[in-house]
Symmetry: C2
Subunit: 210 residues, 2 copies
DNA sequence: GTCACTAATGACCAACTGGTCACTAAGCTC
DNA sequence: GAGCTTAGTGACCAGTTGGTCATTAGTGAC
């Protein structure tokens, strides 16, 4: 099973292997950490834009300015890359500590700020897209996220039916994210950050506190 | 560009073409309408289970008990099949006519009944999954659906911010659908139909009517 | 029966996919 | 500068995909 050298003359046309972008441009250097970080960022963006199924390793490699062989070298498989790029700790309903009465406002502000900062390419969008396309790893991640939220809220918000209400808040935020950052059309998509916060607060309050 | 006959002897091994399932079993008959309907149903199920990107024409053909060539013959392309199988008229918030005060209850019941009837394989699930995987045709369908809802509610529910509130109801239902029929875990997924209606009504009322 | 029409089949194709691996060459230590 | 380690490359592969098309065979009209 000998492999042929790079300049093997057989099959001069056809089967041109890895397609080279128009500009390699960069001299070959060794910067494993820099490369790794670039791949992770490219992966987050690509997964957020197209979901797991439609994102190809070659596309991620192209964005990161490396070959797809290097992506495989660093992360082993597409799924492991996904798990490295979309951390499970990304809890949507973070910053819960504080007065329960102002909790809905804190959730809304925290959510909007986070989404705004990432320019709509938050890993949460990647997660939603990937879960929808049936990726099991993404499903596990989202389930874990939901379980985390529930645990955090359990000791803060009292009353029966707490689980259902927290779960409903999560569902609502998923739906809002879907409208605003996936479908990207309609009133929810065209609101400014401030308008969105104002719109979300009473709804979150109603769902969470009744 | 002559094609070779079926029993061409070259390449006796390898390239065995269409893989045959274990049981063809059915005699070859001509029933175009029956086949067409079977393909459409198989497509709806498959798209709802896996979304557009991950569903293959061969999988649909297998479920419908036909060859993938026939699917292509009837529908021309995967996208056209999708558009034929997931009708745009499927409005989530139908049955709006009636007393505005009981509108949230009617929306909730209509939604739950519809999802329950299809056993979680409603075309709406297919739509959500496919939009999330970046399918443009699905995006157009969902946008049209949202526009339809807005138009229907515009003359029923008065007051400023109507667009945003209707849109928010849509987002909420998308999120609930996502939790219950895509992620299939957590409180929203384990509720009975009746419990879900009871849970949804006050939330829909709060979002829609303030 | 035979003929025309066309539903249905399945072999084929080109493009693309995730993944493998022989090779190349930076950059370190001595 | 020789030698080692290993980051980085790109040719390659096998499997899968959406799509094409020559061929086969029901079915109704005559």
């Amino acid at each position: 099973m000998r492999r042929l050298g790079a300049m093997d003359a057989s099959r001069a046309t056809g089967a041109l292997g890895e397609d080279r972008g128009p500009a390699p441009a960069r001299k070959r250097t060794r910067e494993p950490e820099v490369r790794r970080a670039a791949i992770l960022e490219a992966a987050r963006d690509a997964f957020a834009e197209r979901g797991f199924a439609r994102t190809t390793i070659r596309e991620i490699a192209r964005r990161a300015g490396v070959t797809h062989g290097l992506v495989m070298r660093h992360f082993g498989s597409k799924e492991r890359l996904f798990l490295a790029a979309v951390p499970s700790s990304q809890n949507l309903m973070a910053e819960v500590a504080g007065d329960p009465a102002s909790l809905p406002a804190r959730i809304a502000r925290s959510y909007v700020r986070r989404m705004s900062n990432s320019g709509g390419n938050d890993p949460f969008v990647a997660l939603i897209r990937s879960v929808a396309s049936g990726e099991e790893a993404a499903e596990r991640l989202l389930r874990a996220m939901q379980d985390d939220s529930l645990e955090m809220y359990r000791q803060l918000v009292p009353g029966p039916g707490l689980e259902a209400r927290v779960s409903s808040v999560g569902a609502y935020l998923i739906g809002v994210t879907f409208s605003r950052y996936v479908v990207r059309s309609g009133p929810l998509a065209s609101m400014s950050d401030e308008e969105l916060v104002d719109h979300l607060v009473p709804n979150l309050r109603a769902i969470l506190l009744g």
